[in-house]
Structures are given as structure tokens and as C-alpha cells.
């Protein structure tokens, strides 16, 4: 009996299944992963208890348009950070507490926090707005 020998395949490994798998993996990673450049802003959840002898903390309110109000004066962020830095240096205040006015969104508050922290004010905290007018 004569049995025909099967002709040898030229490629031991077919490329098509490999391409299929790689393509599926590519689609998965393209759809499932996010390429957002995240930034991190550290916020303390509670303030340490204030020293009784220490000067008081400055309570600065953030208004809806991103301005800062302190002791009845409304200034933009750079001028206010200048003033607060000076008062911190003179030890008239010991820390700065940012409080949002009623209805103010997170965006301007976070922006003001970021700018003040960057201008060298380390003792900075977010506070509950609580009562209006203090």
C-alpha cells in the first residue's frame, strides 16, 4: 500500500491566530485603561487642637467667583496670599482656614487652596462653613 506523505507546511506557526489575540488585547487595553494625568491635593480631615497661647487662625471665606474675603475685605487670590503671608510672618495669625460661602462649588475652593498652598502658606486647612458671617 502506498501512503501519501502530507506536504510539509512552510510555516510551523500561523500568524493569523496571533494577530487575532494581539488585536483583542489591544482593544481591551484601549477601552479599559484611562490615560488621565491625575494630580494629588493632600487635605487633612481634622485640624490639630490649637495652642491656647498661639495667635488665632485667620478665617478666610471663598466667594462664588473665586475671590477671598477676610475681615470684610475682598481680594483676589494673589493679593490675599501676600497679605496672609505677611500676617503669618508677623505672627498676627497662626494658620489659615479656608471656608466656602454657602453654595460655593468645589472648583474655586480647590483652586484657592492650591494657590495659597503654593505661595508658601503651610498652615492651611479647609473648614466647614457652618455659621455665616463670622
Amino acid at each position: 500500500m502506498h501512503i501519501e506523505v502530507a506536504p510539509r507546511r512552510r510555516h510551523a506557526l500561523g500568524l493569523t491566530p496571533l494577530i487575532d489575540v494581539v488585536f483583542n488585547l489591544l482593544l481591551f487595553f484601549m477601552l479599559a485603561s484611562s490615560l488621565v494625568d491625575w494630580r494629588i491635593l493632600d487635605l487633612a480631615t481634622g485640624s490639630s487642637p490649637a495652642d491656647a497661647d498661639a495667635p488665632p487662625a485667620a478665617e478666610v471665606r471663598v466667594t462664588d467667583d473665586g475671590m477671598l474675603r477676610y475681615e470684610g475685605e475682598t481680594l483676589d487670590v494673589p493679593s490675599m496670599s501676600e497679605r496672609l503671608s505677611k500676617e503669618l510672618e508677623e505672627e498676627a495669625i497662626s494658620a489659615v482656614i479656608l471656608r466656602a460661602e454657602a453654595g460655593v462649588r468645589l472648583g474655586p475652593v480647590v483652586g484657592a487652596f492650591d494657590a495659597l498652598a503654593n505661595s508658601g502658606i503651610d498652615a492651611l486647612a479647609l473648614g466647614e462653613s457652618g455659621r455665616e458671617g463670622d
Binding site: R10, H11, L15, L18, I19, V22, F23, L25, L26, F29, M30, A32, S33, S34, L35, V36, D37, W38, R39, I40, L41, D42, L43, A44, T45, G46, V62, R99, A100, A102, G103, V104, R105, L106, G107, P108, V109, V110, G111, D114, A115, A117, N118, L126, G127, E128, S129
Partner: protein, 132 residues
Amino acid sequence: MLLPLPKRRSNPEDNVLPLINVVFLLLIFFMLAGALVQEPPFSVTPPETRHTASGEPDSQYLAIAADGRLAYNGDIIEESELAAHLAERSETGAPLQVRADNELEADRLTRLLTALREADVAEIRLLTTSQP
């Protein structure tokens, strides 16, 4: 002058090789550059900051929608359940990543910070995007 004609490629699979190369490079790019973190069940537009350092998102995070709804690790939760979920964290007391919406009332976040302090979270990491 007589130039030799380019040789005809005999194997059709040879034409696919450049395609595979490109697809493979794209695959490696997305595997390395992308972060596989579960997205919150509602849309969250993070606030923008200019001076903060970049960081990697955690798989464990708290998301807050603009209307105040909460989600922990991608599942919507009630505020009353928050402490129980936080107690299950692998490292309790470590900074908790928070994704809050730009349009959320700032007061809602500060009230939540008080609740987080009671749940032994000393510090949160607010995720923001960089301002162009």
C-alpha cells in the same frame, strides 16, 4: 540603464508583519501607560489645580458626584454605610483617595471630611487634573 524590477513577495503573510509590529507597539503602550482602575458609576469632572504633583490613582477610592451621591470602589453607597466600608480597607488610617466633582458644593466635602475623621481617616488625597 536597466533597473531590476522589485521582486514579488511570494508569501502573503509577509505583508502583515508591519501591521503586527504596529499593533504590538500600541498594545504595549496602552498596557504600560494606561491605568486599569474601575471608573465611578456616575460622571465625575475633577477640579483643576496648577501646582500639585502628579500621582497614581488607587484602586480604592471614594467618589462624590455633583449631587452628593457617594461611591466607594465603584459601587454606590449611602453615607451611613461609609464607615463600615472604610473599616474594610487594607490599610486603615492611610490617606484615602477622593474623586470629587468640580460642581459639588464645597460644604458637602468639608462635612464629609468630618465624617471621615471619625472613621479614622486622617488625610485624604483629592484627585484633581492639571490646569492647562
